[in-house]
Symmetry: none
Subunit: 537 residues, 2 copies
C-alpha cells in the first residue's frame, strides 16, 4: 500500500499552533526532537514556527538549516503573515525573515473576514487583497511553495461570502497551491462546515485544506467532514494541543482517515507507531498523556465490564472498534471486583506473566485479587502491584530488597504555629540494620525521605527512581467507597506512580492508616523496580 | 424561552455508563449528590444505575425512593437488561429488581447485532426478539415508561439491517416510546451515522435517541449529527466520562445544541450553570477537570496569542466562538465560577449571606477567594467554608467556638507489626485550657477523636455532628492539579462532608501537610455548625 503522496497532505502544526496551548513552552532542542518524531511518522509537512516574529523560531529554522535536522520525507514549513499594509513586500522585514528561514514551504496567514481586516489590521478590503497577492507572489518568485491559511474563514464566509472568496483568489493568482479554510474560533459543526467546504470547491475549483479548533469538541469530526467534502490537506497538532480547547488531534484524524475512510495517508508501518509517538510528544511537551484519548490513550481499549471478559477473550473485535495493534496500542483489561479467570489470565499475559501453564497459581491469584479488592484494594490502575502479586503466586520473586523493622512519624502543630513532620525508619538491607531520620512537608514525604536515606547506600538503582504522582482515595471500612458511615474511620487507598526516567509504573497500598497505605505502595514501587533491575542484569 | 419539554430529551447516564470510566468509583452518597446537581441543571432523565446487578445501585434507588433524593424536574431511570433466554419475564429476578427500584422510567439494553446475540447471549434471533418484547411489555404493564437502548446498533445495522430494525420493532410493539441507537464500540463518523439515523426514522417512524462513545473522538459530533438527522433524545455523561475513550460529553452537547443549533434543551438560566456543574461533578468523581474541555474547561476561552491581545480587548467576540458567560465560563484564566463580583454576590445570596449592601466586603471577598484559589483552595464543592469566609468579611462571625494551642500526632509501625496512631490536642474552650489524647486508626481519625474529647463537655451540639465523607486530592506546589511533577512534595486539598442528622455541609482545607489540611477542614466543619447552632437558639 503506497501513500497518497502529494495528492493528500498530512500537515502538522504542533510546533506553531500547538505551542499556543497553555503550559507548553518548547525549547529549540525540544522543537528539533518533535520534528524528528513527526518526520519518522511520515507526515508530509511540519510547520516549525514563525521565524522573524519569535526569536526561538528563528533559531529553530537556523539550526534546522545548518544540518541539525535531517528530514527523510517531511517538508519544513515556515509560518508567517502577509506584508504590512502600505509597505512594499520587498521592504517588509517579517516577509524577509520567512525567506531567510530557508524553509522550502511557507504558510501565509490571511484575513478572510472583513471585520478582522478592519478592526485588527486596520486597513480595507482592497489593500488586504493586495497584501495577500503580493506576498504570495514574492515568495513563489523566490522559489517557495506557498499555502494560504484563510483565518476566520467560516465566520467570514457566513458574513460576506464574496469577500472571503476573493481573499482565496488573491492567494491562488499569486501562486498559492492550497487554500486552507481555518475555523479559527472553532465554532463550526460538521454538517454545516462540510457544506461550506463543498461550496467553496464547487465555486472556485481550488485545492482546499482544513484547519479546525476544538471549541465545540468537533475538531476531529470537522476535519473528517471537510475531507469527505473534498479537502485534501489537513492541519492538525499532536494530541490536539492548541489554544483554548485545542486543535484537531493528529492521531485521531490519521487513525480515522486510515481505519475508517481507508485512506493511506501515512507510509506503511507508520500507523502502528501512532501510540508511541503520541506518548513521546506528550513527554516532550511535559503534559501528562490523556489516558482516554481516542486511538492512542492508555485506556482507549480498556474494558471494565467483567461480565463481558470471557466474550472479549473469544472475540475481541466484537468489543473494539478496531484492532488496537493497528495503531500500536493494546487492549487493556481492567481488573475489578468482577474479575474472573479469563480476564486475569489475559491481564497476566499483558504484564509478561504466563499463568496459562499454571492453573493452580491462576486459581489462587483470582482468589487473592478478589479478597484484596473486597478489602478496598484496586488493581485497575496499579499494574505493577498486580504483576508482583502474580509473580509471587508463581514463586518467581526473589527476597525483597529490604525488610522493615519499624517506622515512626511525628507530626507537630506547635503553639507558635510551626508545622513539622519527621520520620524515622529502621530497616534491614544488605545484611545491615540501618536507622535513618528525615523531615518532610508531610508524613509521607518525611517517610519517603527517611527510607531513601536508609537504602541509597545499599541500592544504587534507587537513585533513578522518583515519585511521579500520588493519589489518595478514602473508602468505607468494608472496602467500598465511603458511604455516610466511614468518615475518618474509613480505609485509605493510595496509588503511587513512579519513574526511573525510562519507564513508569503504578502501585497501590490500602490500610486504615493513610501513612501505612502509602508505605505499602512505596514498598511495592521499590520491589517492582528491584524485579526489573535484576532482570536487566 | 421555554424548553422543548418532552419533545426533546437530555438524558444523562453519568451514574451508569460514566461510572465505567477507569478510576471512577462512586459511593451511594456521591451518586445522590451527582443526581441533585444534574437535576438542578434541568436535565430530563437521570440514569442512576443497574439495580439488582450492582448492590450499590440497588441501595442508591432504595435511598432515592425513601425520600433522600427529591428531584424537581428530572425523572430517575433504572437501567437493566431484558429477561434471560428461556425464562418467563415474571420469574426473572433482574427484571423484578427493575420494578422494585421504583424508578418511573426503565432503560432496557437489547442486542441489535445478531453476532452478539449468538456469541454473547448464546441464543437466537427469535428468542432475542421475544426477550425484548416481553420485558418491555411487562414493565409498561406495570406502569413504567420504557426506553430501549439498541446496543451495537450501527455495527448490527451495517451487518444485517433487517434484524437490527426488528429488534427496535419488538421494543416499540411492547410499548417502548424511544429507541436509542447506540454506537457501543464508538467507531462511527458523523456523516455516515447521520445517514443511518435518517434511514431508520424514514423506515420506521419511531422516536429515535442516540448514544455515542468517543473512540473516534467524534462522540459529540455524532450526537449532534444524529439530532440534525431527526433524533430527539440524546444520552450523554458529564465531562464525557465513560469506558475507553469515554462517552459524548453532556456539557459540549448541550452547549452546542443551545448556542449553535438554537435549541432550548435546558430551562432558562441552567446553561449559565454548565461550567460550575461540570467542575463540581469532576470533584465528586475525584478526577482533575480537563482544563481544555470545550465550553467548560478553565482554558476554553483562554488566549495565549500575544499577537491578538489588543484586538481581543477591543472586541472579544471576534476571538471567541461564543460569549463565555453564556455557559458560565470566563474569558481569562478562570479560577472558578465565583471569581467575579456578580457570581460571588449571587452565590452569597444562595448561602443566605447578603453582600449586595456591602460593596467593600464583596471586593475584599473576591480578592480573598482569588488568592486562596491560586494556592490550591477550591470552594466549588465546599459551600460551608465559603459561607464562613463571606460571613467573616461581613464581620458576622462570633468568636470561634474554640482556639488551638497545638497538636501532635504520632504514627507507629512497631517491630511487632502493630500500627498505631495517637493524637494529643491542646485547646482553649469555654474559658478553659483542655488537653486531650485519643487513638485512632489513622492520623486524622486520632486527631478528630482527641478534638471531640476536648470539646464535647463544653459544646453539647458537637455530639450530633458526624463526619460523612472525606476526600483528598493532591495538587502540585503551585496549586494546580498535579501533572506528574508533584509527588509527595505537593500540596494537599481535603474536603470534609459533615452531617448533624438533618443537614449536610462540606468544608475544605489546603496545606502541604495532609494532616494540617484535614485539621483546617475539620475546624471549618465545626465552625459552620457553631454558626448555625447559635442561629437556631
Amino acid at each position: 500500500m503506497t501513500t497518497l503522496g502529494d495528492s493528500f497532505h498530512v500537515y502538522d502544526t504542533t510546533l506553531r499552533d500547538g505551542a499556543q496551548r497553555e503550559g507548553i513552552t518548547y525549547s529549540v532542542t525540544d522543537k528539533l526532537q518533535v520534528a524528528r518524531l513527526l518526520d519518522g511518522l511520515g507526515v508530509g509537512f511540519i510547520e516549525g514556527g514563525w521565524p522573524g516574529a519569535m526569536p526561538k523560531d528563528t533559531e529553530f529554522f537556523a539550526r534546522a538549516a545548518s544540518g541539525e535536522l535531517e528530514l527523510s520525507s517531511a517538508k519544513l514549513v515556515a509560518f508567517g503573515a502577509t506584508r504590512k499594509a502600505g509597505v512594499k513586500v520587498q521592504d517588509d522585514p517579517q516577509v524577509r525573515a520567512l525567506l531567510d528561514s530557508q524553509a522550502p514551504v511557507v504558510t501565509l496567514v490571511a484575513k478572510s473576514d472583513l471585520r478582522h481586516v478592519e478592526r485588527a489590521l486596520r486597513t480595507d478590503a482592497t489593500e488586504n487583497l493586495a497584501m495577500v497577492h503580493d506576498t504570495v507572489k514574492h515568495l513563489v518568485d523566490n522559489g517557495r511553495r506557498v499555502f494560504l491559511d484563510a483565518e476566520h474563514f467560516f465566520d467570514g464566509f457566513a458574513h460576506d461570502p464574496d469577500t472571503a472568496l476573493r481573499v482565496l483568489e488573491a492567494g491562488v493568482t499569486g501562486g498559492a497551491d492550497v487554500v486552507v479554510l481555518c475555523d479559527t474560533n472553532g465554532g463550526q459543526l460538521p454538517l454545516g462546515l462540510a457544506e461550506v467546504v463543498a461550496d467553496v470547491i464547487a465555486r472556485t475549483g481550488f485545492r482546499v485544506g482544513i484547519h479546525c479548533q476544538d471549541d465545540t469538541s468537533c475538531a476531529v469530526a470537522n476535519t473528517l467532514a471537510a475531507v469527505q467534502a473534498g479537502a485534501t490537506h489537513v492541519q492538525c497538532t499532536a494530541n490536539g494541543y492548541g489554544e483554548r480547547a485545542g486543535n484537531a488531534d493528529l492521531f485521531a484524524v490519521v487513525g480515522n482517515l486510515v481505519t475508517k475512510l481507508g485512506m493511506p495517508v501515512l507510509p506503511e508501518g507508520a500507523v502502528g507507531e501512532l501510540t508511541r509517538v503520541s506518548h513521546a510528544l506528550a513527554e516532550i511537551a511535559n503534559i501528562a498523556p490523556d489516558t482516554h484519548q481516542a486511538y492512542v490513550g492508555s485506556s482507549a481499549f480498556a474494558h471494565k465490564a467483567g461480565l463481558h471478559a470471557s466474550a472479549i477473550k473469544v472475540d475481541p473485535l466484537l468489543y473494539n472498534h478496531i484492532d488496537p495493534e493497528v495503531v500500536g496500542n493494546g487492549m487493556k483489561i481492567l481488573v475489578t471486583e468482577m474479575a474472573g479467570r479469563a480476564s486475569l489470565e489475559l491481564k497476566g499475559r499483558e504484564l509478561g506473566v504466563d499463568l496459562a501453564a499454571n492453573p493452580e497459581a491462576l486459581t489462587s491469584a483470582v482468589r487473592k485479587v478478589k479478597e484484596l479488592e473486597a478489602g478496598g484494594w484496586s488493581f485497575e490502575a496499579a499494574d505493577a502491584s498486580l504483576e508482583l502479586l502474580l509473580r509471587d503466586e508463581l514463586s518467581e520473586l526473589d527476597a525483597p530488597p529490604f525488610t522493615l523493622e519499624s517506622y515512626r512519624v511525628v507530626l507537630d502543630h506547635r503553639s507558635d504555629g510551626e508545622i513539622g513532620s519527621e520520620a524515622t525508619v529502621k530497616v534491614h538491607v544488605g545484611g545491615e540494620r540501618v536507622i535513618a531520620t528525615a523531615e518532610g512537608n508531610g508524613p509521607v514525604h518525611a517517610l519517603d525521605g527517611a527510607l531513601r536515606k536508609a537504602l541509597l547506600p545499599h541500592l544504587s538503582w534507587l537513585d533513578a527512581v522518583k515519585l511521579n504522582d500520588y493519589k489518595v482515595r478514602i473508602l468505607s471500612g468494608d472496602g467500598r467507597d465511603a458511604d455516610g458511615a466511614g468518615g475518618t474511620e474509613a480505609v485509605t487507598r493510595v496509588l503511587v506512580n513512579s519513574t526511573d526516567g525510562e519507564r513508569e509504573w503504578t502501585t497501590v497500598g490500602v490500610h486504615g492508616n493513610i501513612v501505612e497505605a502509602s508505605w505499602l505502595a512505596l514498598c511495592d514501587a521499590l520491589a517492582h523496580k528491584a524485579v526489573h533491575a535484576s532482570a536487566l542484569v
